[in-house]
Symmetry: C2
Subunit: 332 residues, 2 copies
């Protein structure tokens, strides 16, 4: 009933724990007959290796910690799901921490995971600057991959979508549709995604139409801000509203509808991320789909490559950018 240990299997099969360990782990060739006896005894007793003891000895827990800003951000669940699958496929388990969008809590959770001897960390940093110190410290101790958001150059390996390419897809699409008075509604926050999407918009919009710089309004990544931003910019009648993410875009759509604007005839609205309800909005939101599965797989792969290393900090940090895809739906 209680726990069956290697010792029990050894006793039952009449050999030493060393031999049993070798048979079950396959670390060294063992005589065919002995191996059979051992395996038979192990299955008969229902032996299950104790991961804790193994972790102590091997100095590896087979565990990866994920610290993210807010699991309730609708973009993250799919990412978590894919990451969990990718890690599971590599035989590793996922410890999850939600840090409530607070850099101090984030640092504390990272430290706790390190205390728990995670083999590696996947981090979606709360803030590009405020998270940097904690991330760098963590990267000195275990392999770290930054996911979706960056944290300054050279701090750790990083996997994210190519925000510039995504924004370019949006602008090209709008240009092809003859929209020439776009407005950007973004986030003032100091996450890398906010900054990159804004910079990409400005670069692209300037190339598109040198007359219309500065048609940019910054708030945060929320539905409420999308509504408010429309109140501010609608009087100047843009023919397209490019939003930095889908939450903003959904808010914008809501308010435009309330104001009686015709989307997309009068004004196009685009989002970014393709969160689950982007396709449910009315009209369905044109947006940039992130390759979530690939992002997660890439993060797991980078982790796997680093995990052989002795010292985690060695070698240049790698940055992977994956190309997104434009989903043209009814809103533009």
């Amino acid at each position: 009933m209680a726990e069956v240990t290697l010792k029990d299997v050894a006793r039952a099969s009449g050999c030493s724990v060393a031999t049993v360990s070798r048979v079950l782990a396959g670390t060294r060739p063992v005589g065919a007959e002995t191996a059979r006896t051992v395996r038979e005894a192990a299955t008969r007793l229902g032996y299950r290796p104790n991961h804790v003891a193994r972790a102590l000895r091997r100095r590896a827990t087979g565990t990866v910690g994920l610290v993210l800003p807010q699991i309730t951000n609708p973009f993250f669940p799919a990412l978590v799901r894919e990451l969990e699958h990718a890690l599971h496929a590599a035989g590793r388990a996922l410890l999850l921490a939600d840090c409530d969008d607070d850099p101090a809590t984030e640092a504390a959770r990272i430290a706790e995971f390190l205390d728990r001897q995670v083999d590696a960390l996947v981090l979606i940093p709360v803030d590009e600057r405020l998270s940097r110190e904690a991330v760098a410290e963590a990267a000195r101790r275990v392999p770290v991959v930054l996911l979706d958001r960056g944290c300054g150059p050279g701090v750790a390996d990083s996997v994210a979508v190519d925000n510039a390419a995504g924004m370019a897809l949006v602008l090209d699409h709008l240009a092809a549709a003859g929209r020439c008075r776009p407005w950007f509604v973004g986030a003032a926050g100091t996450t890398s995604t906010a900054a990159e999407r804004r910079a990409a918009y400005e670069a692209g919009a300037a190339a598109l139409d040198p007359q219309a710089p500065g048609r940019v309004e910054l708030g945060d990544f929320s539905v409420a801000w999308g509504r408010e931003a429309v109140d501010r910019i609608w009087p100047s009648r843009p023919d397209a509203i490019v939003c930095a993410n889908d939450l903003i875009a959904v808010g914008a759509l809501q308010r435009l509808r309330q104001l009686g604007a015709d989307v997309p005839a009068e004004v196009a609205v685009t989002g970014f991320d393709d969160v689950p309800f982007a396709g449910l909005a009315d009209p369905a939101l044109t947006t940039v789909r992130q390759p979530v599965g690939e992002l997660a797989a890439e993060a797991a792969r980078l982790l796997g490559e680093r995990s052989g290393d002795r010292a985690p900090g060695v070698g240049p940090s790698r940055t992977v950018r994956l190309t997104p895809e434009l989903l043209v739906r009814a809103s533009g």
Copy 2:
């Protein structure tokens, strides 16, 4: 640079590892002067206890596994978040597994978590019947709490919203508004929530209006099904569509809008769960808000109470039902 162990602290402070352990863990009174020296050495060296070694000796990892059907189900992220917070407050870490709505995968993940020596499990079972065996087996080995969904009587402790009460709130509200030709759009699936909400609707609707039994349409918990169900039932012009969850309700709203129906003047639509985009639908969805924070806190509390026990399976299993709240919004 490398790992500082108890032995290092012992050497630095000139006493034995036993004493250091006692000072740091506070398990036995130690001389004031010695304690000071030890503590000073520990902080000076930056000692951090090794959780793996501790877990091996104490036979407790301080870890709780959560296995859920699909993290992408929009109701779950908030629940996960609250659960993570509650467990963290109790000093425990959360291992997450997403089983893709598949009972076989679910059983496998549960077994893997047991192999990893989790102290307890929180399970959101995929299916009331098909998950039962794996859940019962797990409950024999560690404390288990079923969250949100049940798994037959007496299998394990369980925490969920009172679905019957929630449905009663909806029906009372509709009755008060004079709606007397409701229709129910539910899920045929074999989860406890699907069955309970359907049963509660039937009980309440029969009491409300004995003329209208059987006005029930069953599919699954999805937006697509909500759309399809409306196509089937709209010809008979119900004055209310009671949906078993918000996904269905959002689909129903979409299709009703496409059909030119006036919500709520012509027909009311209600949901269940209050997922994030329920308030974003147009018109905003009247729904039943689940007390997510309390559900998670209660689950953590039950786990804490069981965790003292030697044998997990002892004692009658407890079922906690929390009362939901009706959120009246524009859709009805």
